[in-house]
Symmetry: C2
Subunit: 411 residues, 2 copies
């Protein structure tokens, strides 16, 4: 007897900063039968994926491949492979995910120095560069698009300064990849982590990363070969010279890059269906064209913001550093933010997000990312939000929000 | 312009020890649109999955949930959460995946003591118990089904001895869950890791684990709350009492269990589509019935072995501890094992596996796992292998292998 019902998820309009709706072509890709991980047809798909990741990351790096886990597994893989215990790491924090970088770096044994900024703002690059000159860290870890506050940090000047000062810079671009410009090589970023479940519109489950030869040199020094794979008289890289081997096996980039290289040295069992999904998601991004895709994200943001403001709602945070793909809205005084979110979900099938830490109960966060970033979704959300706010006693000039967005689309 | 072709993987008969063919109902489950990770409909599916995992693991443990990564991420999550640097860990090794346990435990900072057994054999439980009495480890880590050699280690006496001696025992049951009996509670196993891409016939990408209150107590002592989630005046579990916090954030079971608890404390973004897949895979296992499923695996093994032996091939390893779901065959003298594998794949679309380390070039490994474990596949493989061996100059009584398997099925 089996008490569990057949899977039958309700249709949702997902307007959070991730996970967002998955492109139906990606869903279809996941439904194909699998190939074995060393099947030449599968390794060819792995190579395709690496090549497409290089295009999307805008890099000539040899190493661009997914970590088999959710976004934070990619962050941890990069940090645990690059940070030796005792290394000094500078983390300029401007929201929740900056604290995550701090936390992971600390667990890697780093001596972490943080900068802290009021949530809702970002750094003038000169502030960060001054801190680098003062602290002389081995590594700087920083967030590009901070979804907890809806802000974007300019990185070009910071990246170039790190290159000049020979400091490694690691960037969390989980929220930005495929949605807003990210230039790994031009901005001199040494290692970058992207996310699948946001602007790429692939389900959560992989974390695309890339890193350059500067990063690789540090990783190579710490390399070991897995015991069960060593052949007698063969590899001897585990010798006494090693000072600080990488603490994780699963997230060890030195072993992972051997698996993603033509050597195909066995490590984990690659996630076949997720790889199908990522390859298809990247193919869709490149088929749309990066510039076209960025313009689409800007257009939906403009319409959404116009609609929200016409409804009389106010936005949170410094407008000069607003992240295109996340719009943070102040919850009107006296309104129960969670009650509004529940009614949107239950009656309209629309999901928006709350926030974390000091912003919990203060703002809603609305994502316009990837496949979810569409006229249909923006208009649907504005109409629904108005209706729900009216039900919650908020005084609103009805109809104005949707009309303001339509003005943008029809102009 | 997009140079990348549409995804169109060739159909394969996958007779390796994993990844194996995915049940079409599981493939279909992955093609459903996603739900948000905190959508009540999604958290209900998470709860279903926990309940089904308890049934499949045969446990009353509160904690039974998937780690979001491939099987070894589950192993590392358990070991990094349970091992404090300096802990003494005993690993009885009898194949590649024993060495993996050693390697991961060492990276966690353990003082590892190993037992080593000739590949192809397993331990008399008394040998392991004697070593536990001698070494007095904090933790024993051991493989249940060793796919590199096709052997199964009896665990009941070892588990009960560990309970009596108050030693934690961690079991890698990646290859056995859903294919051969595994009794977490009855055998007194404290933490167990399963795999998705083997007998459960779900794609690689999640690692179901379970652990009991003995394990949880050790984890709880090492717990911390993520910085970005702490509320002012709220959680204060990160205080000076902590001696050895868990070194990984991504694989920290203390945080993961909060995410899987009714508190739903935010951690990673749950892999929606993989969770759909795992839930459906478990539903199918329970619908078939565990005993019926085990009997199916035994029947296909019997037919496969009869066929291989009738072809004149000899099996590898001690027959008394043969793992039902993996059959290791000696490569006939003078035959290039990789050439046979390639011809099977290219002409017949069938994949079998080679092996690792000292067994590389010595044996083929044939899996009969989950959805791949069928009469159709066994008969198809026996006919194809015969044809390919004949092409490689091996003297074989043609027709005998398939007939011997048919004798089993028709008796």
């Amino acid at each position: 007897m089996n008490l569990y019902s057949e899977l039958s998820p309700s249709p949702r309009t997902i307007m959070t900063p991730g996970p967002v709706e998955v492109d139906p072509r990606v869903l279809r890709a996941m439904s194909y039968p699998i190939l074995g991980q060393f099947d030449p047809e599968f390794t060819a798909l792995m190579n395709d994926t690496m090549a497409m990741l290089r295009s999307v990351f805008r890099t000539e790096n040899e190493w661009a491949f997914p970590i088999d886990g959710t976004s934070r597994s990619g962050i941890e893989a990069v940090l645990v492979s690059l940070i030796e215990p005792g290394d000094k790491v500078l983390v300029p924090i401007f929201g929740r995910f900056g604290y995550l970088l701090q936390e992971i770096a600390e667990r890697c044994g780093a001596a972490v120095v943080v900068l802290e900024k009021s949530w809702g703002e970002v750094y003038d690059p000169e502030e960060v560069i001054a801190a680098i000159l003062r602290e002389k860290p081995d590594l700087v870890a920083i967030v590009h698009g901070e979804t907890s506050t809806g802000r974007i940090q300019p990185l070009e000047a910071i990246g170039k300064a790190c290159r000049e000062l020979d400091v490694l810079v690691v960037v969390d671009a989980v929220a930005t990849i495929g949605g807003v410009p990210l230039e790994v090589d031009a901005w001199c970023l040494d290692a970058v982590i992207g996310g699948t479940q946001k602007c790429l519109s692939v389900p959560s489950g992989m974390a695309p990363i890339t890193y350059n030869d500067r990063a690789e040199r540090k990783i190579a020094r710490r390399k070991s070969i897995e015991r069960g794979l060593r052949q007698s008289g063969g590899d001897s890289s585990n010798d006494a010279r090693q000072i600080s081997p990488i603490r994780s096996n699963y997230l060890d980039l030195s072993q992972l890059q051997d698996y993603w290289s033509p050597r195909r040295l066995n490590h984990h069992t690659e996630m076949t269906s997720m790889l199908y999904a990522l390859r298809e998601g990247l193919r869709i991004v490149l088929a749309e064209g990066m510039e076209t895709r960025f313009a689409r994200h800007r257009l939906q943001e403009t319409a959404l913001v116009a609609g929200l403001q016409a409804m009389g709602l106010s936005l949170y945070g410094d407008a000069r550093c607003k992240l295109t793909v996340v719009t943070c809205v102040r919850i009107p005084p006296g309104v129960d933010g969670e009650s509004v979110r529940s009614m949107l979900l239950e009656l309209f099938g629309i999901e928006i997000a709350s926030s974390f830490g000091p912003l919990k109960g203060e703002i809603w966060r609305i994502g316009t990312m990837g496949y979810s970033c569409s006229r249909k979704n923006v208009l649907h959300l504005l109409g629904a939000l108005e209706a729900v706010l009216v039900r919650h006693g908020v005084h609103i000039q009805t109809g104005a929000g949707v009309q303001a967005a339509m003005d943008i689309y029809c102009s």
